[in-house]
Amino acid sequence: MSDRIQRWQAGITDVVVIGAGHSGLAMSHALSLRSIDHVVIERGEVANSWRTERWDSLRLLTPNWMSRLPGYRYEGNDPDGYMSVAEVVEFVAGYASRNAAPVHTGTTVTQVEQVAGGYRVSTSRGDWLCRALVLASGAFNVPVIPRLADGIPSDVAQLTAQRYRNPSELEDGAVLVVGASATGLQLAQEIRQSGRPVTLAVGEHVRMPRVYRGRDVQWWMLASGVLDQRIEDTDDPLRARRVPSPQLVGTPERATLDLNALQAQGIEIVGRLAGIRDDKALFSGSLRNVCALADLKMNRLLDAFDEWANEHGIATEVAPVERYAPTDVGSSPRLDCDLGKHVKTIVWATGFKPDYSWLDAPVFDRRGNLKHDRGVVDLPGLYVLGLPYLRRRKSSFIHGAEDDVNELSAHLSNYLDLTARRHVSGIAM
């Protein structure tokens, strides 16, 4: 290619893993155990997204005792606490150095293409040739912002959860937070605590108490097998992968974060942001129904926990059964609000998607989603890790990496063996 800038070969290896977050490092660990030659390519430092793309107050949604990776676990003195961003960075970086993982930091992947016998991974520090490739570059690279954002007046500041750090960066005045996942609720709460009026636009969401019958809700999810549910056993895999993160926050008080708690703190809840017209934000009249759906689903989940506790004879070891007040929607939720005059800032907490813009291969469906079967991509020797519900409900959790990596590294190892044999027999002929 004539327009190609100077390229040089950085190396040849069996496997390139893209991304040195917890997933990529767990895969590196599994490959090392199998003595498979590999490198881990990282655009920044280990745990880069945690270092550069998270807000200041964020803590993990899972308690410390759950934080483990293959051959590695949390060993601090606060098992029921929740790691801060700095602690997550330390945890993941500690894993990389303890494993002496072959990480190439400060190396940005610019293009991946198929070549005979494998892949060429072009980076800012030369090209790698490999037989198999693992995408572990994360599920939350690019903020998803609804198209209607185009109609927002220019005097309203817009910020994504990826760029947001703390309330002091925001202009004075009212803030509209769009999105009712863990992110939206956490940001709404701390922005409200900074004294600004906050309106929260609420679409479909997942409600959960932080602590249920005296145990962290994540303990129930893990112990009762909910987190181990496999994608192939769900009624609707596409939907399962799109479910927003549950409304949880990790605080020393183990406080429940739900729409009732936020309203008690003075936050106004409105329906999903449905349109922009005449410098007004229009909210859907579906708020009552999305709250009813979330309440019903929470109660079904708690029923399942109770049933599991009875069946396993631990109902007396935990606190009594609890149920929570239905979400209060008020008598007539507001259907619009003035932008500019009233709302000065919009914070988008409307989700993320992975970025594979550098992946030059026919592996995307018509909507641009990567086509894969539980992490095995539609192209020989190509794998993906760490996406929500990739193989199990826990797949995007730190502790969820282990099972996925064990299974996918076995698949990958088998692939290398098969292609090596074919290669060898080809030479023999």
Binding site: A274, L282, S284, S286, N289, A292, L293, R366
Partner: protein
């Protein structure tokens, strides 16, 4: 969850619906439908609308018969009351859509329905359409729907049916979210 030993039959062909979902995922162009109606003024506030054909699955489609609807206003509006008030058609549409959804979801969840009765009420302040007060909107200030359902299911399962039906309802979406409306004219 109830254990249903028998198979519920609500007269909904769920296999066909699930099959359509799969087929339309593969062929999104076939999923593009156009719904149509024509209307002709009769006299006073009375007009007659006709629903006959629509477009979908890549082709022109016809209803089994032509349906006609008279719309008018009641006598308290100094009108002749030759048909339901247009705003009442909105309630009719919402009930028709939600009930169809309830039957389909119930079928899919193997819940036998025995009766599904909806009562709808919408508030409206006439000061809006009469131009008395600009702060009052023309349309409804809210819609209340109550479903009384007799089915082989718990109260929560019935509530979940109705909630899921709202989530997947076209008319619920149309009345709860803004829709861009283009009206053009020509001289006959």
């Amino acid at each position: 969850m109830n254990k249903h030993e028998t198979t519920a039959d609500n007269g909904v062909n769920v296999e066909a619906l699930l099959g359509a979902r799969e087929a339309l995922t593969e062929a999104p162009e076939a999923a593009a439908f156009k719904w149509r109606a024509t209307s002709e003024w009769v006299s006073g506030t009375h007009s007659r609308a006709t629903v006959d054909g629509f477009f979908g699955l890549g082709d022109e489609q016809k209803h089994r018969q032509t349906f006609q609807f008279d719309a008018d206003h009641p006598e308290v509006f100094a009108a002749e009351d030759n048909g339901a008030t247009p705003v009442e058609f909105i309630l009719v549409g919402l009930a028709g859509c939600l009930s169809a959804g309830i039957a389909s979801v119930a079928q899919n969840r193997n819940i036998q329905l025995r009766s599904v009765k909806a009562t709808l009420e919408a508030g409206m302040d006439l000061q809006g359409i009469l131009g008395i007060d600009d702060a009052v909107r023309n349309g409804f200030d809210g819609i209340r729907v109550h479903y009384e359902i007799d089915a082989d299911a718990t109260q929560d399962e019935i509530a979940a049916l109705v909630a899921q039906s709202q989530k997947r309802s076209a008319v619920f979406d149309i009345v709860t979210n803004p829709t861009d409306v283009t009206v053009t004219t020509s001289k006959a």
